[in-house]
Symmetry: C2
Subunit: 247 residues, 2 copies
């Protein structure tokens, strides 16, 4: 448990289009630096996965509703329309800023609808429909190509209440338990731990961001040396409504 963790950027991955074999691009990039190893976690930026899955929308084809116009503030009401379509509910609003709960249950700005790194000025990228399924497909395809049993995380940059700046978190997870459960374990003085769960998948996603970055064109990274235990999904990281004090 005391070994080093390495965060290795996966470089040389071209812009992807719908239907590309992203797993093959990831494996090829990894092969140039010695290849994937069993137990590696491959972290892939959500935006790449979304493009792969055709989750790009042309704003010129969107007709904003009355509600979207009302909430848009100074923003493009067609973009606001897409935010509303992607949302279960709006959690906080200060137009043009909308904090939404997405259909998956993620609480984030603009329901993850993002204009940066899109295909052009009139396009936006939506979150994958099912990021856990995206992670699982990538993992299975990587296993086929590289014969390595890896974990996969589909990550995105989220703001958070109370603190400035974004950190990357895990939207989709496959092949690792996203929460390390310490319940019942004792610390070095014998005291039963109160902080019972560590969101390791989010910490891994954040670590990967340190080498990926938004302006560097590096859409993926390997996090090597984390002891993978169990399995689970990105949905496991969502606070159940009955425990949520901030709804």
């Amino acid at each position: 448990m005391t070994r080093e963790v390495r965060v290795i950027p996966l470089t040389g991955i071209p812009e992807v289009d719908e239907g590309d074999d992203l797993a093959a691009l990831l494996v090829r990039s990894a092969d140039r630096i010695g290849g994937l190893e069993p137990g590696d976690v491959v972290v892939v930026a959500q935006k790449v996965v979304s493009k792969l899955e055709g989750r790009v929308r042309d704003l010129t084809e969107i007709e904003p509703s009355k509600r979207a116009r009302a909430l848009a503030g100074g923003d493009d009401p067609r973009r606001t329309e897409l935010i509303l379509r992607e949302s279960r509910r709006i959690v906080r609003e200060r137009p043009p800023l909308l904090i939404a709960e997405t259909r998956h249950g993620f609480v984030c700005a603009s329901a993850g609808v993002d204009s940066s790194n899109a295909h052009g000025p009139h396009t936006v990228v939506l979150l994958p429909v099912d990021p856990d399924a995206s992670a699982r497909r990538l993992r299975e395809r990587i296993r086929e190509l590289a014969s390595a049993e890896v974990g996969v995380i589909v990550s995105d940059s989220f703001g958070r209440p109370f603190r400035l700046g974004t950190t990357d978190v895990a939207l989709g997870v496959s092949g690792l338990a996203p929460l390390e459960d310490l319940r019942g374990q004792r610390d070095s003085t014998g005291y039963e731990l109160q902080t019972t769960q560590i969101a390791v998948a989010d910490e891994i996603a954040g670590a990967a961001e340190l080498v990926m970055g938004k302006t560097r064109g590096i859409p993926a990274a390997i996090v090597r040396g984390v002891l993978l235990q169990g399995d689970g999904t990105g949905q496991d990281l969502l606070m159940p409504p009955e425990r949520d004090l901030f709804r």
Copy 2:
């Protein structure tokens, strides 16, 4: 910017007591694995820093107020009393769970008052009075001892709204800019980035947690390979009240 980031546990650090030379212990531990390098970030768990600074309290010496008794739920009202003393305000309450804004401005469970890893069943550990000053002192002492210009982060495990599990965040920062500012930068398609600030200090703290952990007796880690830019404090990571939609 595309080099690897390494997260290296600092092992063999004994339990610290008030007034110990923690920087010397960190440098000695690092020396066993090749020493600190310029640009390294040394991440130290808050609890060690707090013990060093005498922020341990004996509950048998605490007289709980009426308010503490009312808010304690099934918890020890003496502990609740300390939580109230450490807090500017209680942000959410569902006794015995209290989410507090600490005197520093951190929003976290129990105002950071923690019973795990304390000195015994009747003691608790409080957050450092000024984690930025703690980080700065450690950094200056490390510079004296190791002749290496490093960054220092004092980290703690915080829960967050909407998501399960804790991630480690930076309470105290010295020698690095905690926010990477992308305002005005353009992505690979020329689009001006909307997500303007990345909380790199929190991502570094989370990465360090992956090798530290609560039950492994590893209170510190080196994060190597992050390009340190500028300077700043943990206070820079706090959301200004006027921008906070979740107060």
